[in-house]
């Protein structure tokens, strides 16, 4: 009995201690966010990498910003227009100050754009967004004219990725100078306080920001890659919000009144590539294990059969726990170029078998499906589900997955027959997947850079080429929709779904979710009601 009393006291003491332990840090002016991936640098031009850009969004500003639905809105530029098909004019906002007090003018913009290709030792520059620029004229300190060699409709989209640094501070600055904070001077909503490599990034609000001031004064991004540890940090109150909560904990997050789960359809489509090479495809054999003398995937009926055999709603509901919507095209409905006429393929296993029989494979064939492991939400499980569904219509399927590094190295060399990958249309337009995934591979023009299956259709190429040089928005929309329609009729690639991006916050904190998957501190805000 005595022991019981003691235990009860201990528990009471523990409860008090826990209440005390949770009290500090929960101040209303501070926000602590756990993010899932490492930030490798603060230099906004060093490496075009999602987590780096996510931090740069806070410290630096851009000419054009993206709203949560990936629509362009004025940033440092108050307006932009075409002078002719090859020339764009941007009007800059007046009176914008860098956090060191200097004024931001057209010279800083020119300097930033020119700095992009010069950053050394980079594994991936921002040059895809600047290399089409032929020359930049500074008309006056608040007006820029950008000249392109060809008709170029995507100038504002491109410039929505380029962060503007201070010419005065960043001249001669190295990437290390940005990391140490010395050169990390921007005009964004936050200022860098400290960057601890692999651990955390501390920011403080820039009270001189030209736009709406963000609600939280101090922000700490903690890097917690392990999803269970990230979840634990939220549960224990060590952080106020996390990105990418583990799928296994979604049910708990939805039911627990202490937390809020927010999700939004992402700009990322998950899809499969078909092998389009005229060869005996490396991972397809006849039912008896002998190689086939021709590649069955070249037959549209076989591709159609595969697409019909896949139960997309089941994948979205079961595998993804409802955090995806089936897709029949390249971009989701909020993005420019979405074609409302294209619906996801209807699940029809009988129709699939019939098509296979018509194509000369009444008993199907053997197939090994390849996919990445740990790159996209539930990627391995999706591949396994697809393999089971294909096996049911006679295409006996095995699964092989590998981490993205070795996987993409092999996939990009056409070593697979049927493989899964994802694509985020980061410019907010269907032109991005069309030119990279669908257009014929061409080393010199840069078209079809990620066309792993080597699909090639001159008609689609022509439409894409027309679309990306069409400056008139209305016409371009129609062209992008037409190009997508042709590509999908051919099953150039086979879309599965658009995944959702998820955030979990504690009660009292609300996030406005984004299609571009960014976790931006200034889109969190405190909500009244019953906090904690």
């Amino acid at each position: 009995m005595r022991k019981l009393v003691f235990l009860a006291r201990l528990a009471a003491a523990a409860a008090v201690a826990s209440a005390l332990a949770l009290a500090p840090g929960a101040s209303a002016d501070e926000l602590r966010i756990a993010v899932a991936a490492d930030v490798t640098s603060i230099d906004p031009h060093f490496y075009n990498l999602f987590p780096n850009n996510n931090i740069a969004e806070h410290i630096f500003d851009k000419l054009v910003q993206m709203d949560p639905d990936s629509h362009m809105i004025p940033g440092l530029a108050t307006s932009w227009k075409t002078i002719d098909d090859k020339t764009w004019e941007f009007k800059l906002r007046k009176g914008v100050k860098f956090t060191d007090g200097g004024e931001l003018t057209a010279d800083d913009v020119v300097f930033s754009i020119n700095r992009v290709p010069t950053v050394p030792n980079s594994p991936g520059l921002f040059t895809p967004y600047t290399k089409a620029i032929q020359k930049i004229d500074v008309v006056d300190p608040y007006t820029l004219r950008i000249h392109y060699a060809v008709p170029y409709p995507l100038a504002p989209n491109d410039l929505s990725t380029i962060y503007i640094v201070s010419k005065k501070v960043a001249t001669g600055a190295t990437t290390e100078d940005f990391n140490s904070g010395k050169a990390a001077i921007g005009s964004g909503r936050y200022k860098l306080v400290r960057y601890v490599n692999g651990d955390r990034i501390e920011l403080v609000r820039n009270d001189n920001y030209w736009g709406d001031k963000p609600p939280y004064e101090k922000v700490t991004f903690k890097i917690i890659k392990n999803e269970a540890a990230r979840m634990a940090a939220l549960l224990s109150g060590d952080v106020d919000a996390i990105e990418q909560p583990p799928t296994a904990d979604l049910a708990r997050l939805k039911s627990d009144p202490k937390f809020t789960l927010t999700s939004k359809i992402s700009h990322r489509v998950i899809y499969f590539n078909f092998d389009y090479l005229e060869r005996s495809s490396p991972f397809i054999t006849a039912k008896d294990g002998k190689p086939l003398d021709k590649n069955p995937l070249l037959d549209l009926r076989v591709r159609r059969a595969i697409s019909k055999a896949i139960n997309r709603p089941a994948i979205a509901e079961r595998v993804m726990e409802g955090q995806a919507i089936p897709s029949g095209q390249l971009v989701s409905d909020k993005l420019f170029g979405f074609n409302p006429a294209l619906k996801p393929e209807v699940y029809d296993p009988e129709g699939a078998k019939k098509l296979l029989a018509e194509a000369g494979y009444p008993n199907g064939f053997n197939l090994t499906i390849h996919g990445p492991a740990g790159r996209y939400v539930n990627d391995e499980k999706i591949v396994q589900a697809v393999a089971q569904m294909l096996s049911r219509v006679g295409i006996t399927s095995k699964v092989e997955t590998a981490p993205m590094g070795p996987y993409s190295a092999r996939a990009s060399k056409q070593e697979f027959s049927f493989d899964m990958v994802g694509w985020g249309a980061s410019t907010g337009e269907a032109s991005s997947p069309l030119r990279s995934l669908i257009a014929t591979y061409n080393r010199d023009t840069g078209m079809g850079a990620v066309n792993w299956g080597r699909y090639s259709n001159p008609k689609v190429d022509y439409l894409i080429q027309q679309a990306i040089q069409q400056v008139d928005d209305e016409n371009r929309l129609i062209m992008l929709q037409r190009a997508t329609e042709f590509a999908m009729a051919d099953l150039a690639i086979m879309p599965i779904h658009f995944q959702f991006t998820m955030w979990a916050t504690k009660k009292g904190v609300q996030y406005t979710p984004r299609t571009d998957e960014y976790t931006l501190a200034f889109q969190f805000r405190p909500v009244k009601g019953n906090p904690g």
């Binding site: 490496y47 050394p120 991936g124 290399k131 903690k222 540890a229 590094g405 993409s408």
Partner: protein
């Protein structure tokens, strides 16, 4: 002694050289980091630019010689993803891992040896049996699971300890950032260190127990008792000193392993150490960091082993270092 140390150093250099070659070729064989690193929007020409910027367009042997030439002057190249020196990156993270490993080893020694001694002296008692049963748990439970359970209990349910990270650090001797000097830092350290120590506590318990068990049956212990020495002196001096040699060996070996195994604990507790850096670098095929990390670890292990050997001769005068082969 001096000859011995010189011979050991020469061997170490050969080991380091062979290992750098193996890792270099191994990472090269996995694939081209650019496929992984570059933004997918980039086209083929930009891809080639990036490959050239990182020096990956040269043949493998040439890349290796560039690396060797730099390594001889202490320059292990720049990280592909961080644009900073690979060695600098590792040294920046090293204090965190060393602090964690030293704390874990201290916990293991402070708990493991006395508990093992107790179990060895009173093998039939309830306490002795409980200790032994507990040590089986320490051996068999996987580190990451125990780590998550610790977080669940002490951070989520009780709210006593922070669930992740290293907390604020202060400079020790004005040089090395450590967290154990402040209460807040210490509270961040307790759980990961305990988690990492668990296996070694169990190991030391078992080792000490069997050593003590054996020593107690030796004639010199009986003789010491017959002389009428106090129990404390018999155990503290005669038993403990004699069983210390295998324990020192294991502590030395395990300390090297702790630095390596810290990877799991570091991921679970988001501890910003070297192990986490290695995992991230492997995932990104960041070869300079991988090679530099392994070279640093091998050097550390070699140094620890050397220290263990020197310690031997201090503990057991019969061991002469100059006679040791290898």
């Amino acid at each position: 002694m001096l000859v011995y140390i010189i011979r050991r150093s020469t061997q170490s250099v050969v080991v380091l050289f062979v290992m750098s070659l193996l890792v270099f070729v191994g990472v090269y064989a996995i694939g081209n980091p650019i496929d992984l690193l570059i933004n997918p929007q980039a086209d083929q020409i930009e891809r080639e630019h990036a490959i050239a910027a990182l020096g990956l367009d040269k043949p493998l042997w040439e890349q290796y010689f560039v690396f060797l030439r730099g390594a001889l002057t202490g320059d292990f190249g720049k990280s592909f993803v961080h644009a900073t020196s690979a060695l600098g990156l590792i040294l920046e993270r090293m204090p965190a891992t060393l602090e964690l490993a030293i704390a874990a080893m201290l916990i293991a020694v402070v708990l493991g040896i006395p508990l093992g001694l107790w179990a060895g002296l009173k093998p039939k008692g309830v306490a002795g049996r409980t200790i032994m049963a507990g040590s089986i748990l320490g051996f068999s439970l996987p580190t990451f699971w125990v780590g998550l359970m610790l977080i669940m209990v002490f951070s989520v349910m009780l709210g006593w300890l922070p669930s992740n990270g290293r907390g604020p650090t202060t400079l020790l001797l004005g040089l090395i950032p450590v967290s154990f000097l402040t209460w807040e830092g210490l509270s961040h350290l307790i759980m990961p260190a305990t988690n990492l120590a668990l296996f070694n506590i169990a190991l030391l318990i078992r080792l000490t127990r069997s050593g003590a068990h054996e020593a107690l049956m030796q004639d010199y212990v009986k003789f010491a008792r017959a002389k009428g020495l106090s129990n404390r002196r018999v155990i503290g001096v005669h038993v403990l000193r004699n069983i210390l040699i295998p324990i020192v060996t294991v502590v030395g070996l395990q300390f090297g392993a702790l630095i390596g195994f810290a990877i799991v604990t570091e991921s679970v507790f988001a501890w910003p150490g070297m192990g986490k850096l290695l995992i991230d670098s492997i995932n990104l095929l960041d070869r300079p960091v991988i090679v530099a990390y392994l070279l640093v670890i091998v050097t550390l292990v070699i140094l620890i082993n050397l220290a263990v050997d020197v310690l031997y001769s201090a503990l057991d005068p019969r061991v002469r270092l100059s006679e040791a082969k290898g």
